[in-house]
């Protein structure tokens, strides 16, 4: 094996940031829902998958230009998130948390099978958009334009989100609800609305992530969301689930681990996914609340 050149390092750095940013968008959805409902929404990967299909059909069947198609797909995914919350989670608001978890697994299977029936199990190609997929060369590093847009879009969305959560009224309501439903209600907060908004935001971010994922890895099938969903869940836990900044940090870390393990130890490249889980176990052993997670007393 020849030595790793600086070009390869730079190239891998670019790849890792892109992959990490993609993970971040999806991980935020997990972390926000957990922050408020203490629910790990296992259907999040399927929401991711559905938005890819939405985008696919808006481009191929409705023949819309890509920007409109993507916009509609993102909107539809947001609505889907609200519907799922309303149909599968709201009726269980007073039920034990474990029922909610099981309900989310049910939704996940429902969406997967629905996709098989509606869209068939055969892979489809995500519609290409030249503006994102053109390749440019910067100092011997060849990257798709997408690799520049993805971290930028992620950064902008995270800043908007942090502003929304920390500076606006609805954000304050979200933070209050995440501490205590009952008291928030007494303070005049419409908790159901806050939760619906949370699901909507989480799903919209998943949709943005899914569309960029589709542009980078142009394959759609009913199970396409499973693995990214799982990885982003890990990223959220590594960062400290419930914490938005933590999810971003965890996601970037995971992206770096995956890319650089393969680069430095090509013989281990087949075990790439295993390292995500190893990282999860190590974090859980050493810092159970995650890298940036704060220790919150359990609600009684």
């Amino acid at each position: 094996m020849s030595a790793i050149t600086s070009d390869m390092l730079l190239q891998s750095l670019a790849n890792a940031i892109t992959l990490g940013s993609l993970y971040a968008l999806v991980a935020i959805g997990y972390t926000m829902v957990y922050g408020i409902l203490r629910l790990i929404n296992f259907a999040h990967g399927e929401i991711f998958m559905m938005s890819m299909y939405f985008a696919f059909y808006f481009v191929t069947a409705a023949m819309l230009p890509w920007y409109l198609a993507f916009l509609f797909a993102i909107a539809c995914t947001g609505i889907l998130g609200i519907i799922i919350e309303r149909a599968a989670y709201r009726p269980l608001r007073e039920a034990p948390r474990i029922s909610l978890l099981i309900s989310s697994i049910g939704v996940s299977y429902l969406l997967q099978n629905l996709a098989v029936v509606l869209f068939s199990g055969i892979q489809k190609q995500f519609p290409p958009v030249a503006m994102f997929q053109d390749v440019i060369t910067i100092a011997n590093v060849r990257i798709q334009k997408l690799s520049i847009y993805v971290p930028l879009i992620t950064a902008v969305l995270v800043i908007v989100l942090l502003y929304l959560v920390n500076k606006t009224k609805i954000g304050m309501a979200m933070r209050a609800s995440s501490k205590d439903f009952e008291t928030s209600r007494l303070m005049g907060i419409n908790v159901n609305r806050v939760i619906a908004v949370t699901f909507c935001i989480g799903s919209v971010l998943a949709a943005v992530g899914a569309i960029m994922w589709g542009l980078k890895y142009p394959k759609i099938e009913p199970y396409v969301g499973t693995l990214p969903g799982l990885k982003c869940f890990i990223a959220a836990v590594i960062g400290g689930i419930g914490n938005i900044k933590g999810a971003v940090i965890g996601a970037l870390l995971l992206g770096f681990i995956e890319i650089f393990i393969v680069l430095f130890f090509p013989a281990l490249s087949g075990y790439k996914d295993a390292f995500a889980f190893v990282a999860l176990i190590v974090i859980l052993l050493v810092r159970p609340s995650g890298l940036v997670g704060e220790k919150i007393a359990n609600k009684v």
Binding site: S12, S120, G121, E221
Partner: protein
């Protein structure tokens, strides 16, 4: 609102139920019926290998329609979905032999899935015939599993010869799917014959089924400057590998693959990036071997208005073989079918099919194809003794 939700949920559940039924296909009720011969179709209809499963099933259905009744009885196809997953495949195989009680099983696309189902067929003493599973372990040590295609040691030799002699490549890089028995086997057989010929494997990298990012693997392999990259594995991952190679600026590197690549999604997902890749395969509609080839190609074109893929041809032949075997045996008894398969010779559309003592088809011809202008195009026929 509540009423609407209830209706929505009921509809959703009904749909989910339909999805469940869809996978059992014509099976429906199950149970034994002496007036019907039940042929199990064990294929991936969803998941990473769904496209492979579907084009193989097309061939099986075509032969089913074409051949009609057998021993004066109706023939029924019982489809189960092994979901492109080894664990699901074992469950699906048990379901075929235990609940559906089929008389014979056809499939599966993908050696890993076939191997996973093998034990269920062996334990229940049900004869299974694989159409396109090329790994030796599918039939090895299993007296009830047969196959009608060539094997990976043969395929590996053909590819190694092509790389070394025809392409003049002395340095090869390999990127293969480690979670796939087929890809691991093919990589080993290719490596052995290629090194025997005098070539050098300069770099190797691995990936898992369903991986989507191959930038690091491509960079580590390309750093060793191979003449050709051999990438045995599933077709969608292969398409993404080639796409990402072009995006990284490796415009000239040639890719070499096995029979699994010949599915429409390789071209749909890969686009221009897969142009020029070379694969081994079983069949080409433009190189007819006998009358059955002509019949099959005509039937297929009539129904689907396009040219059939190699897997569809094998699907047709695997049904034909099962049909002829039951006909020769005069019953659906497993032992009688096995006895008949010992001496049976079938003129299939992929050539003549006879079985050796392992249950493997005796074949000595492979076809090489390349992708040209978005189509799999015939390149060469290779015969190895």
């Amino acid at each position: 609102m509540k009423k609407f939700l209830t209706v929505f949920l009921v509809l959703a559940m009904a749909l989910a139920l339909l999805a469940g039924c869809g996978s059992t296909g014509d099976g429906g009720g199950g149970g034994e019926d002496s007036d019907v011969i039940r042929i199990g179709v064990f294929e991936p209809l969803t998941g990473a290998n769904a496209a492979g499963g579907e084009i193989e099933v097309r061939g099986i259905e075509l032969a089913h329609e074409y051949l009609g009744d057998l021993l004066g009885k109706k023939v029924e196809l019982v489809k189960v979905d092994n979901k492109s997953d080894a664990v699901e495949a074992a469950t699906a195989a048990s379901r075929l032999v235990e609940n559906e009680k089929v008389d014979i099983v056809l499939g599966s696309w993908g050696s890993t899935l076939s191997i996973a189902g093998g034990d269920a067929f062996k334990n229940s003493q049900t004869v299974a015939i694989a159409a396109s599973a090329t790994n030796p372990n599918v039939t090895l040590g299993n007296d009830y599993y047969y196959r009608i295609c060539f094997l990976d040691p043969f395929q590996g030799t053909v590819l190694a010869n092509y790389a070394y002699k025809t392409m003049g490549a002395t340095k090869v890089g390999i990127i293969y799917e480690t979670s796939n028995d087929y890809a691991v086997g093919l990589r080993n057989f290719f490596k052995n014959s290629y090194e025997e010929l005098g070539g050098e494997i300069v770099a190797e990298a691995m990936y898992q089924t369903n991986d989507q990012d191959f930038n690091s693997q491509l960079m580590t392999v390309m750093a060793e400057k191979p003449d050709v990259i051999f990438a045995p594995g599933n077709y969608t991952e292969a398409a993404l590998i080639m796409k990402q190679a072009r995006a990284l600026g490796y415009d000239d590197i040639k890719f070499l693959g096995g029979d699994t690549w010949e599915t429409p999604p390789l071209i749909e997902v890969g686009g221009e990036a897969v142009e020029g890749c070379v694969i081994t395969t079983f069949f080409d509609p433009d190189a007819p071997l006998n009358d059955m080839t002509t019949t099959f190609v005509e039937l297929y074109r009539e129904k689907y208005n396009e040219d059939p893929a190699a897997f569809t041809a094998l699907g047709f032949d695997v049904y034909l073989t099962a049909y002829k075997a039951i006909e020769a045996a005069g019953s659906t008894d497993s032992e009688a079918i096995r006895e008949a398969l010992k001496t049976l010779e079938v003129e299939g559309c992929t050539g003549s099919i006879r079985f050796d003592e392992n249950g493997d088809a005796i074949k000595d011809t492979a076809i090489l194809k390349t992708v040209q202008d978005g189509k799999f195009t015939f390149l060469d026929t290779v015969k190895i003794d």
